[in-house]
Amino acid sequence: MAISTEPTGAEPPAGGEPYPRPTASRPAGPKPTAMPAVPEPAQAQDWIVLSGVTKRFPNVGTPALDEVDLAIPRGSFFTVIGPSGAGKSTLLRVLAGLAKPDAGEVFIFGEPPAEASRRKHLGWVPQSPALLPWRSVLDNVRLPLQVNRRAPCQPRDPERILALLGLGETLDRLPAQLSGGMRQRVAIARAFAFAPAVLLMDEPFGALDEMTREHVAHLLLELWQAERPTVVFVTHSVGEAVVLSDQVSVMGKGKLSEPVDIALPRPRPEGIEDTEAFHGLQRELRARLREAFAAPGD
């Protein structure tokens, strides 16, 4: 078992190391835009790009995704908020290659999602932790290192990731012996453990109470700050979106709005929720959400 912080012998895929630029307070490079001038092929390596992506389900009137255009630069934290049924999960599933769009194109750093998945570039964090109940915490986190072993990855030390998430004492416990918040943290550790270039997180804190939520969100933030994967995050919580993200887009009826920049400095300490800047951004997002709820055709 090659579980170490050392890089494996295998070459990383074209496009370089998974996480370039651990720079100061903001990710370098261009910001995400909802309607990109499609990046030059030379830059495609550094963007997640959706263009004209449409997904319909049989017997459902409005499409779950309606000609979605989006470009997210490598290394940024991008959040989608919106009401239930807006198409947020479908968007993530399309990015993960778990669902095929009916029209449009998806590229993850120049690769189609299926290829990104084959190369283990995608970390998937579903709404429920989806841990294997018969595996200890540590063995759950090791799972991604044990499957699809032909894909080169540069695994992190699972024990270190767990320790960073405050789970250093629970390595040998079974999931049934953990609280909901701890289980969700294990799911996050599992996604970080194989250092994927992209993390796709679908309301990962949806089942947690408010206090636990904030705490786990800040732990995620610290881990992200250290590892700097590209994150596409879905949440119902406006506050969470503001705390975590570089940019937030509102989704309603399968359409994605122009993203809002979250110009809060990083790193963002616990307690940032009490600042005026935070409240201003929260108000702006709430206004956008109201527009999404009242979209034409409602």
């Binding site: 998945s117 579903p126 294997l132 595996r135 999931p175 049934a176 012996q177």
Partner: protein, 271 residues
């Protein structure tokens, strides 16, 4: 593995608490009362209808008087039942894995399994004895046939019981079918495999006894014993045989339940 059961993850306390549960009156009283009522009705019937049922005293006397014979016959029946159920369980599990992977195989095999399940054993018995002779083989095969369907259905349900969200995690990693089967579906099916065993193992004892009754030329086993004693109107002996059969089934079920409880607790399926 056996070690990890006992020196496992802090389960001592709950299992201790549960162990004391067994001593509580509330646990034991209801089944005891139910048994008592049945035996009482039995005794009333037996004293009024001497040719229908033997009295409990007579069954008891015949049981103790012929314990050696009954146990030997029971052993012979087990020697058909256990290989039969082992074969059917193993084949069912393998087939379920195949069917889980291939719709085509499911469509091909499932109707066949249903047909086998509904065909009367009495009709197959002569053919089987013709092919397999008068020894244990035809009874083992008949037991396997009787137990096959519930084993297959449970194994299939088990493989399909994996958490769909966990399945997504495997898919997102491009885990192979084999990896998904081995690391997710098979372990997830453990509770179903035990549930199947709980149904199928006692069924195999009854199945083997029935096989002995319907197959020609049987000379040992509880099925033969019960049939002969009934034919000779030795109702006490016949019922002593039936009781022995039931006790064998009960003991096997209890064994499975104990192992199941341990393993599911140890593997985190139960708290």
């Amino acid at each position: 593995m056996g070690c990890s059961v006992s020196c496992g993850h802090g389960y001592e306390r709950p299992s201790l608490r549960r162990a004391t549960d067994h001593l509580r009156l509330a646990t034991w009283a209801p089944p005891l009362v139910a048994f008592g009522v049945v035996l009482l009705v039995w005794e009333l019937l037996a004293t009024h209808e001497r040719f229908l049922l033997p009295t409990l005293g007579q069954v008891g006397a015949d049981l103790t008087g012929h314990l050696g014979t009954l146990l030997a016959y029971g052993g012979a029946t087990l020697a058909e039942a256990l290989p039969g159920v082992a074969i059917s369980y193993a084949v069912a599990l393998l087939l379920a894995v195949g069917m889980d992977q291939s719709r085509l195989l499911t469509r091909a095999v499932l109707p066949l399994a249903v047909a086998l399940n509904v065909s009367p054993l009495l009709a197959i018995a002569p053919t089987l004895t013709l092919f397999l002779g008068l020894g244990r083989a035809p009874k083992i095969v008949m037991t396997a046939i009787i137990t096959f369907f519930p084993a297959l259905i449970n194994a299939l349900a088990g493989l399909r019981s994996a958490d769909p969200k966990a399945l997504e995690v495997f898919q997102s990693l491009s885990a192979s079918r084999w990896e998904t089967l081995w690391r997710l579906q098979l372990p997830a099916s453990l509770p179903y495999l035990f549930a199947a065993a709980r149904v199928v193992v006692p069924l195999s004892v009854v199945g083997a006894a029935i096989a002995e009754m319907v197959a020609q030329g049987s000379s040992s086993g509880l099925g033969v014993f019960i049939e002969q004693q009934s034919a000779d109107a030795q109702l006490g002996y016949a019922w002593a045989g039936i009781v022995t059969l039931a006790v064998f089934g009960l003991v096997l079920t209890a064994l499975i339940v104990v192992v199941e409880d341990r393993v599911l607790r140890w593997r985190g399926f139960k708290q």
